[in-house]
Symmetry: C2
Subunit: 236 residues, 2 copies
């Protein structure tokens, strides 16, 4: 395959270079599709200038109205396309590479945008205020793990996060359709699974002591999800 895609990601000292779950989503997607790509590592303060250089669209506005640039972004050398926003990237990859495994059902873009919007508030105990900042389209401007609450507040937040994941656990059960599913849409992994797995992987890599607890939640659903997607974690 002559396809060559450049993934723009943010480096860190953490395992897998993990910094934000958002770029992990795109990495899962590229690996799952088996598309050839390379990574261009962009330090956090350089995101805006690099995005402008490659012609990536801003994904929102800062509070003062100026455009706000985020990663992941991809540049597809075979088509010239430059796409930012992980859900838009997933939709682009599905329509541009129809012979690779699909991330979403046909025309699933709107539903998968809604999926993300529904999950962000459920992650709030993990990144307090991050959802609010996101909806205000401000930048985090700091490593996400610095937001994770500690001490007594941390214990309460962790319990709340478990309850919230319990809600998502019900989504996997498909309303009783055919028993507990491993993936959101049945036998095949879809972008919603990768989307969630990116946060679970982030916890495993950056908050390993929390992961010891989380991996036991909901019959081990989240640990099983990560195991099943492990072959798509590769960082190239």
């Amino acid at each position: 395959m002559s396809t060559q895609i450049v993934l723009y990601d943010i480096p860190s000292a953490h395992p897998h270079n993990a910094w934000t779950p958002n770029t992990l989503k795109t990495r899962y997607a590229l690996n799952y599709k088996g598309l050839q790509y390379t990574t261009e590592w962009v330090e956090y303060p350089d995101i805006e200038s690099v995005s402008k250089d490659i012609g990536a669209a801003p994904t929102g506005n800062k509070p003062d109205g100026r455009p706000h640039y985020t990663l992941p972004a991809i540049r597809d050398l075979s088509t010239g396309a430059v796409i930012s926003d992980s859900t838009k990237i997933a939709a682009y990859l599905d329509r541009t590479y129809p012979d690779t495994p699909r991330l979403m059902p046909a025309r699933g873009f709107g539903l998968f945008c809604a999926f993300g919007d529904a999950v962000y508030p459920l992650l709030d105990p993990l990144f307090p205020g991050a959802y609010f900042r996101r909806t205000r389209e401000e930048s985090y401007g700091m490593p996400l793990e610095a937001l994770a609450p500690t001490g007594e507040a941390g214990a309460a937040a962790w319990q709340k996060l478990r309850d919230n994941f319990g809600k998502m656990d019900e989504w996997f059960r498909a309303g009783g359709e055919d028993g507990p599913g491993v993936y959101m849409m049945g036998d095949a992994v879809c972008y919603a699974d990768m989307w969630l797995a990116a946060y679970v992987l982030w916890v495993k890599l950056l908050l390993p002591e929390k992961w010891e607890n989380m991996k036991t939640w909901h019959g081990g659903r989240w640990a099983t999800l990560l195991e099943n997607l492990e072959k798509y974690e590769t960082v190239v």
Copy 2:
């Protein structure tokens, strides 16, 4: 078709007996599938006792922990099943009547639950506090239209609602995949379209002066959606 389903709905003096968008969702679904059904009208104060009588599961808990019952519910006389919660009803109808038009893609239940959770906060300008009440699993306990803000606050809320519908308008555009779609998932209507249309229809029926404005939004997308679904509005 010998199928006979009873839909439990809440009566009102409004056109179409419309009281809550939630039962309109199920009505769209039953009509779209062409299933034979009758309506059992349940006055608001009787919801709990009727639900218990027919064996409908509560859909949440009240703040004091007691079970909370809501409509719609359906009773399927051909299978004996009693289902509450409109999204669970939609999933039940898809799996029980596989020869009728699908409301969701296979195993779409989780995504459609997430869709609802993502949209509720966007409806907050229309029903201020209703989403909060819902997440607290309290009952509205009053006609929803009584919540709609009026005067200057109403004008600001209406503008905010328009912005929020603008966000959903983007979901329909499928990330640029194949231009603006009439339905969320392309050429065929799906439960997400009915879900949204139920709120739009509710505005049209109960706040007709607001509808005059709303029907012009986003290139007439919401008016077109209602027109396309009008044949599934029938109240039987």
